[in-house]
Symmetry: C2
Subunit: 375 residues, 2 copies
């Protein structure tokens, strides 16, 4: 049996391990929290720091094949492991581009991949000279995650919110739609692309409201999005699973927003809604099997389960019974003991070929299901 390692032990690792149990593979996970969502679902759990060179290197020496479930890993150790012959998905070179927003933007530009206009700012003083570029979004080059390290700069008055460290200032895009595409690339270059996903935002809360798959797109937008996403992965020159997040702006342009070189939140519906899920697909890539079928079994929606405001502590799931009483609804609780406001605690997938039913159930679930703490 091949030995496969995962750096990071969160929910993505958890779902990877659920899928791994279909295949002959021995699984290793490294993460600093021995109570993380993946710890009990692998053959070998190693407590370690995924940003530390020695920890990552020692971990990599135990396995035949390695992947990540989060970008913030020690790339230098991965490069050494790769040089010594380890198969790593994604390639460290792709990770190096993606983990730094300045590198990411330069990559788009040098490969003629459409993306929002941007300026690089080395520090806060540099930002303050760019008032002609506003409104814009200031993004920390490294270490941003889940909304952290991102600030909207509407006018000069917002400059103090910017980052006094290397960052990218992206000109505000007037967004019509946000779309995500998941693409699988095998070692031999074979590619498979999942149907696009609509990331629907709540305009008031500035939070993802729900996802819909397939996205409702004008044909022209659809073809542009797919062509751009395929171009991105071609230029990244790496096998693996990639999530390409795109904006369709109000003028019909399609722009790359971000890339994730791994299984991704925007692909969780594939567990039930696609013949081969993104998690199944990554195992097929790592174990050198043929790619699976990305076709949709049914249309689907996803609602994230997020820690409620004002609740910090042991998680309790309100409304779970009501949601589980709904037909064709699939609950995934990530097994995190502690909730905090905004923390991703799980997701719910809804299957139906009726869009109204998807939306109706998504709304019901958002109102019913709350992650709180015990009284």
């Amino acid at each position: 049996m091949k030995k496969a390692g995962i750096l990071g032990g969160g929910q993505l690792g958890r779902m990877l391990l659920q899928a791994a149990a279909n295949y002959p593979v021995e699984t290793y996970v490294m993460e600093n929290d021995p109570n993380c969502p993946s710890a009990h679902l692998c053959h070998h759990f190693i407590t370690g720091n995924i940003t530390n060179f020695d920890d990552v290197y020692a971990f990599g020496k135990q396995v035949d094949v390695l992947t990540i479930e989060i970008e913030s890993v020690n790339v230098e150790a991965l490069e050494k492991l790769e040089a010594e012959g380890l198969a790593i998905y994604p390639r460290p070179s792709a990770l190096r581009i993606i983990r730094d927003k300045i590198e990411q933007k330069n990559f788009y530009q040098s490969n003629s991949i459409p993306t929002s206009a941007f300026m690089i700012t080395e520090n806060l003083d540099a930002l303050k000279e760019l008032s002609h570029f506003l409104p814009a979004v200031h993004k920390l080059a490294k270490g941003g995650y889940d909304g952290k390290g991102v600030q909207m700069i509407r006018s000069k008055d917002d400059f103090h919110k910017g980052f006094d460290a290397p960052a990218v200032l992206e000109k505000k895009v007037f967004i019509q739609k946000e779309i995500a595409l998941i693409i699988a690339i095998a070692e031999n270059g074979e590619r498979a692309i999942y149907p696009p996903v609509d990331m629907v935002f709540d305009q008031q809360l500035h939070l993802l409201s729900h996802q819909l798959c397939p996205a409702e797109l004008a044909e022209k937008i659809f073809w542009k999005a797919e062509a751009i996403a395929l171009r991105v992965v071609k230029e990244l020159k790496s096998p693996g699973i990639f999530a390409i997040e795109l904006f369709a702006d109000i003028d019909g342009n399609v722009l790359v927003n971000e890339i994730a070189p791994r299984v991704h939140n925007s692909g969780h519906h594939t567990i039930e809604a696609a013949f081969s899920s993104q998690f199944d697909m990554l195992w097929r890539i790592m174990l050198q099997y043929p790619l699976g079928n990305t076709d949709s079994i049914q249309s689907s929606a996803i609602v994230n389960i997020i820690g409620e405001e004002g609740h910090n502590g042991d998680a309790v799931y309100q409304g779970l019974k009501e949601v589980l009483a709904m037909d064709n609804v699939f609950v995934h609780i990530y097994g995190k003991k502690q909730t905090k406001p905004g923390r991703k605690m799980g997701h719910v997938t809804i299957l139906s070929n009726e869009k109204q039913e998807l939306l109706h159930k998504a709304n019901q679930i958002k109102h019913l299901l709350k992650v709180v703490t015990a009284e």
Copy 2:
């Protein structure tokens, strides 16, 4: 989080644990082999003997809710645990009936549930007085499993093959079809029934060739089968998952063959082919959630992956890449290191609403996929 225990650590436990990771539950498994298919997928693995009173009792005292993945467990310990308040699925009383073929047959008879005619034989001498009852099948009352403990007695010449221990002699049924039905029963008595499955046997090899769901049944047979299965679970008076195996004979009678008080091989297609799988359903029952939807997403077939004749040792899967290259085919390898002739090593589920496609792919898979040992 509720603490849930599983007695037995085989493939059924493995698939239960894959499903458990969707829910807030802490999992415990007991089995004597620390390399069993379930050992690495639970929060807590306990090495112990599931037929030993003390081991089962001590295990049960650690959990809030308990289930089994094999019938041969210590029922006396379960009865003591139940008397002390533990919720056990299935109830020990149902297990007591099912684990002994004499009790099982008496249960059918006393509840007017149609089953093949039978005689009870205390020993081989008793069998030899029943030549008027032949052809018949001799089944050991206790401990039979997967074809062991079962002998066809065609004529007096076969008497020496019979069992010199308490057993049941069942009059041979002239079988038109073998059918299986999976039923879920919640604590509150709510029931959900999955579409029936055709168990198609290879007449030459006397082995299951493949399963098809839904079974192709005359309407009258379908209704009889469902009514009988529901009557069985009503009289068993136990929540849980039950597989009811039935014969439809050449005269159109429907007879109960066997009951399994647990998730069952005949229900593995439900992982991909039903909205709520049998494994998902058992967690819903144990965690007191509403039952799921048993509807089929698509029609399906299952082919078992069985250890090849003449191969004993470390398992190697021939033809796996070819099978994984087929669309809408789902491979489940159970992670058993050692293969031996006839051992269940995995299964493959095929989804399609075209029966010809299901049969064609099932045949292809049977020819392509072999479990052998390395040279």
